[in-house]
């Protein structure tokens, strides 16, 4: 399968491991990621907080480039980028006037024909393949699937999964062989874009997410957004210090978990780039493997 690819700024830098793991599983699942040439940043919170037109125009430019490249569907692995691209697409589709103004600003016409997909959407389509190729090393690994605020919301934009009790990540995780836990904070916001400007809020919000996952018995949290990852991973040290340093909670990108499930080499999945070491997860996998081998020998 061919699909357009909008990495967004973080996948080139702070969330490099997300990009690496994504590339790795794409290869394993026969997906060809076609990066949009010369894409620009979606503008993120800073654009939509300060200039509505800009927040539509920046994604529109990228969508236009994708259209020129004949990409029917584009994957935006970052939930925030996904939200901006999908919102812009809808704003243009819904309102003829906006569409006209955007075309004027871009100085080019375009059809707004490119569909935007989140990683949850894309992998939901592939659960069959994942299950087929799964090597089952994740058996009994308990993970908390964290959607964050924007992966399935607002429903008018996403039109995918249930905005209040979603199940797509759980289904993907199950296909990859792991066991999702029942928990309470799957949709609560982690503090998103306040990572730099209001760290205290991020710490407060991310902390309750980590606590809830821990309480539910999760061994790792699976995320589908670089911002969520950075808040839960990078900030976790500070949080754990306040919480009397309980066991650190590894935070895995969905692509990393799927990669592990497919039996890919952890080194190719960028696991070493995390602040919270995912070693406990790897140890668990090894233990499972050993057990299985034991059983085979016996």
């Amino acid at each position: 399968m061919n699909i357009g690819y909008f990495p967004g700024c973080s996948l080139h830098a702070t969330a490099r491991e997300y990009a690496e793991s994504l590339t790795a599983i794409a290869a394993a699942l026969d997906i060809k990621l076609d990066e949009i040439k010369d894409w620009a940043c979606c503008g993120a919170t800073s654009a939509h907080s300060t200039n509505h037109m800009l927040s539509v125009a920046l994604p529109a430019r990228t969508l236009m480039l994708a259209e020129k490249q004949n990409l029917g569907r584009v994957l935006a692995p970052c939930a925030a980028c996904y939200n901006r691209l999908a919102s812009a697409r809808q704003a243009i589709a819904k309102d003829k006037e906006i569409a006209g103004r955007i075309q004027a600003i871009l100085g080019q016409s375009f059809e707004n024909s490119v569909q935007v997909l989140s990683i949850a959407q894309l992998l939901s389509e592939m659960t069959g393949e994942i299950r087929d190729k799964c090597k089952r090393p994740l058996r009994n690994l308990k993970v908390a699937c964290y959607y964050g605020c924007l992966l399935v919301r607002p429903p008018e934009i996403c039109q995918f999964d249930d905005p209040e009790s979603p199940s797509s990540l759980e289904n993907i995780v199950k296909a990859a062989g792991a066991t999702p836990v029942q928990w309470d904070m799957a949709l609560e916001c982690c503090g998103g874009g306040f990572s730099l400007s209001r760290t205290a809020s991020v710490v407060r919000l991310s902390r309750s997410i980590l606590q809830s996952a821990r309480k539910a018995g999760a061994q790792a949290i699976v995320v589908a957004c670089p911002m969520c990852h950075s808040n839960l991973d990078f900030r976790q040290g500070a949080i754990n210090m306040r919480d009397n340093a309980p066991e650190p909670m590894p935070i895995l990108f969905l692509s990393q978990l799927v990669g592990l499930g497919l039996g890919l080499d952890p080194a190719r999945l960028g696991l070493s780039r995390h602040f919270v070491s995912p070693q406990p997860v790897l140890n668990f996998i090894n233990a499972v493997k050993l057990q299985a081998e034991d059983r085979e020998h016996a």
């Binding site: 700024c9 080139h12 830098a13 702070t14 969330a15 490099r16 010369d38 894409w39 620009a40 940043c41 503008g43 993120a44 919170t45 800073s46 654009a47 939509h48 907080s49 300060t50 200039n51 509505h52 037109m53 800009l54 927040s55 125009a57 920046l58 430019r61 006037e97 103004r101 004027a104 600003i105 871009l106 100085g107 605020c149 924007l150 919301r153 607002p154 429903p155 905005p163 209040e164 949709l187 609560e188 916001c189 503090g191 998103g192 874009g193 306040f194 730099l196 400007s197 209001r198 760290t199 809020s201 919000l205 990078f234 070493s272 780039r273 995390h274 602040f275």
Partner: protein
């Protein structure tokens, strides 16, 4: 009580129709949402992750807008506190969209009372957008540097730079996108776009 004071503390008197230039009609034009459609149930504030930190809760923001108390509203920190997590919008029983209204209010505040916008937040947004304008993409290292230069808290987070570097998460050398000229034009055009 001075006239100025009373204009802040009591709802502005409207004659029959809402005046065109009032903040509420301006926001309605920008978002297509009529503030009168909010019936002040508070469900938005109940679910808002930032409610505890906001000086005005989400439904109160809409309330002040209904009353056209623009000075108090635009100067409030609360509108900058919103994470645009869309919880309120997803759950509003009246199909209102507080997140979109707050975005529009921020835009209005930047235009009308730029001096009242919290420094570190406006510094962050400016730094962020500057990155895009300069390179087409955001390079975190440049972003952090520029943010600090613009008055973001100076020492916080500096200790993390080396650890980021060691994990290959920061790049020093920004690359410009090819269409940077066209992109800058988009910025210019959007800056001059009058809200409809």
């Amino acid at each position: 009580m001075s006239a100025e004071h009373s204009s802040i503390t009591s709802p502005k008197e409207h004659t029959s129709a809402r005046p065109q230039q009032s903040l509420s009609s301006q926001i309605q034009n920008a978002t297509g949402l009529d503030p009168a459609c909010c019936y002040q149930c508070g469900k938005c504030s109940a679910g808002c992750p930032m409610a505890n930190e906001m000086d005005l809760k989400t439904h109160q923001i809409i309330r002040l807008l209904q009353l056209d108390l623009d000075e108090r509203l635009l100067a409030s920190e609360a509108i900058w506190m919103c994470l645009t997590c869309e919880t309120c919008t997803t759950r509003c029983p009246n199909q209102f969209d507080p997140a979109a209204v707050i975005d529009a209010l921020r835009e209005a505040a930047l235009k009308k009372v730029p001096g009242r916008v919290p420094k570190r937040i406006s510094a962050f947004h400016s730094a962020f957008l500057d990155q895009i304008r300069m390179h087409g993409r955001v390079f975190e290292f440049g972003l952090v540097a520029s943010y600090k230069l613009r008055g973001g808290p100076l020492f916080a987070d500096v200790e993390s730079v080396p650890s980021m570097l060691s994990r290959g998460k920061l790049t020093f050398t920004p690359k410009k996108i090819e269409g940077i000229k066209a992109l800058r034009r988009i910025f210019e055009q959007c800056a001059t776009e009058k809200s409809k």
